[in-house]
Symmetry: C2
Subunit: 376 residues, 2 copies
Amino acid sequence: MTNTFSFQLQSTHGAARTGVISTPRGDIRTPAFMPVGTAATVKAMMPESVRETGADILLGNTYHLMLRPTAERIDRLGGLHKFMNWDRPILTDSGGFQVMSLASLRKLTEDGVTFKSHIDGSKHVLSPETSMEIQRLLGSDIVMCFDECPALPADKTRIADSMRLSMRWAQRSRDAFGDRPGHALFGIQQGGLEEDLRAESAEALQNIGFEGYAVGGLAVGEGQEAMFGCLDYAPAQLPVDKPRYLMGVGKPDDIVGAVKRGIDMMDCVLPSRSGRTGQAFTRHGVVNIKNARHADDPRPLDENCRCPACRNYSRAYLHHVFRSQEMISGMLLTWHNLTYFQDIMQGMRDAIAAGTFAAWEADFHAGRAQGDIEPL
Amino acid sequence: MTNTFSFQLQSTHGAARTGVISTPRGDIRTPAFMPVGTAATVKAMMPESVRETGADILLGNTYHLMLRPTAERIDRLGGLHKFMNWDRPILTDSGGFQVMSLASLRKLTEDGVTFKSHIDGSKHVLSPETSMEIQRLLGSDIVMCFDECPALPADKTRIADSMRLSMRWAQRSRDAFGDRPGHALFGIQQGGLEEDLRAESAEALQNIGFEGYAVGGLAVGEGQEAMFGCLDYAPAQLPVDKPRYLMGVGKPDDIVGAVKRGIDMMDCVLPSRSGRTGQAFTRHGVVNIKNARHADDPRPLDENCRCPACRNYSRAYLHHVFRSQEMISGMLLTWHNLTYFQDIMQGMRDAIAAGTFAAWEADFHAGRAQGDIEPL
């Protein structure tokens, strides 16, 4: 264990990278997928099970936690790690993105955002300064700058204005973060799908200086091709010696394409949310367990998967408990999906280190193209 | 492991008994509490966690399973144990009780009951013969006779007629069960709160002969005093050398009072159902985790409890996840409640064996009288 925050790049293969982020709460092997623990729980999972899937770090949502149970309460109770029984690293977002998607009566000014809680209608303010304070109270290991993220498509002037506001907020976030050894503050690049704005944003962030850099403002509806188009240049605009985090991504092929383009960290609700709606991700694509074809199928979801859903249960059982709306359905499918996502990450880390990433990627796509096993 | 079903009584203390039921799928330490796995899952629990709480045997509901996924399907898939990943003993009820409480358009004749499924309205028949066949297809280790259970209060003629019908059905159940080494068929005593009818029922059952005997028709709204009044004589009417099972009981003090009166086995949905509604059972009574008094409380539910909810989480966390309607709330509180129920059983088994059951019982009641810890 170290008492500082650092990043060691270990191998590269084309633009793809593998390395280790060291923190006082443990190492994060990159490329890393961060399961989302919105309200101080990764839905349907015990934290020790999340760890078993191979996760080194979780993401917590500032917006949700500030409203309930509140950051002050979590602080009084000893911080988010203790509260939710996860002693490894936690990254918290700034709250900005979710204010825009969940809160009502939002008012955006140079200072920040005022809004009403979607839970009880109470009024709150998020600004670079309050976001830093809330993330400090939560005890977050990796803190994100407070930024604004316009929905795409938007005209270039709107995107530029928004990006420049976010850069002013990045400076205020850096100032408010202060000196916190062992904790990291990540800047967030904005600029939509405009290469020149992305470059301007990257430069502004590096002039401020951060422990890591996120590619923000993607995965907001622009589609995979547009996102990959942006990732063809955006990561390279960021420092090579710092972790690069793509926020809110994604589906398995999004993740692989992002890593291929130089991304080190990602997060997404997809594996847990899909698990609760009966969707399983496998090497051979998506399986909808609610389909009648599984009702009598004694085979596991994926015979090569190490998760409890695959080791101990048939598709017929998973189908039955989904149809019966039993909690174990969400528990098992979430466990499976998180395991699959972590196994992709481990596969990519190994392949990048071994110099076989291109072959790994071809194999990944071939498995998906094959499709699910034939019905019996 | 044995390949037969047997019961060894080891110690008694007054009417209370401790012993072991041996089955090919493992031993059942008595007095035993059986968690209920209605639809092939103990709600909110992984089966390995149920085992960790100390459960030696689960109960499965014939009514639910025959409708979905159907007994025939479970049979094709290798039986209920394999289907739900529980390789220890399973007791199945006969379906009779739940037909009466859940199904619509019931029609009761000497032959059996016709009814419509509460899930899809499809028509089904349950009779001693079909119930035995369904329980055989499920692979149940302990099969219950198909019986009829009148709601209380009812007049004595109705109770007597119903009991005698159940006794004729008990003979038909025995005949239909056939010769199945390693599997047990339990008869069910009826007779409401009438001592002479209970005696008549017990005699009728013993004339047929069963591997165990249930006290049926209680815990149907008659209240604890009336139930204990019946248990003051009913168990003693049954053979001393066979297990005695009190169906559908109960709250912790019901369980202790039943064991004191000579009951060896019980089942109830209470620990799991209450866990999902924010109620925790502790040595000091019931804790409603949704109460605001817990919102800032850093203490565990019960500092002496060995379950994950108590070892790893504060009341404040349990309160937060309940209020946030997170699945981990039901997962943790169910785990706690099942652990508490199993710890009561272990405490009674030890105390009966040590000849200290009276002291144990006094301690149990004193702990409950003490009430929950004071708010901070």
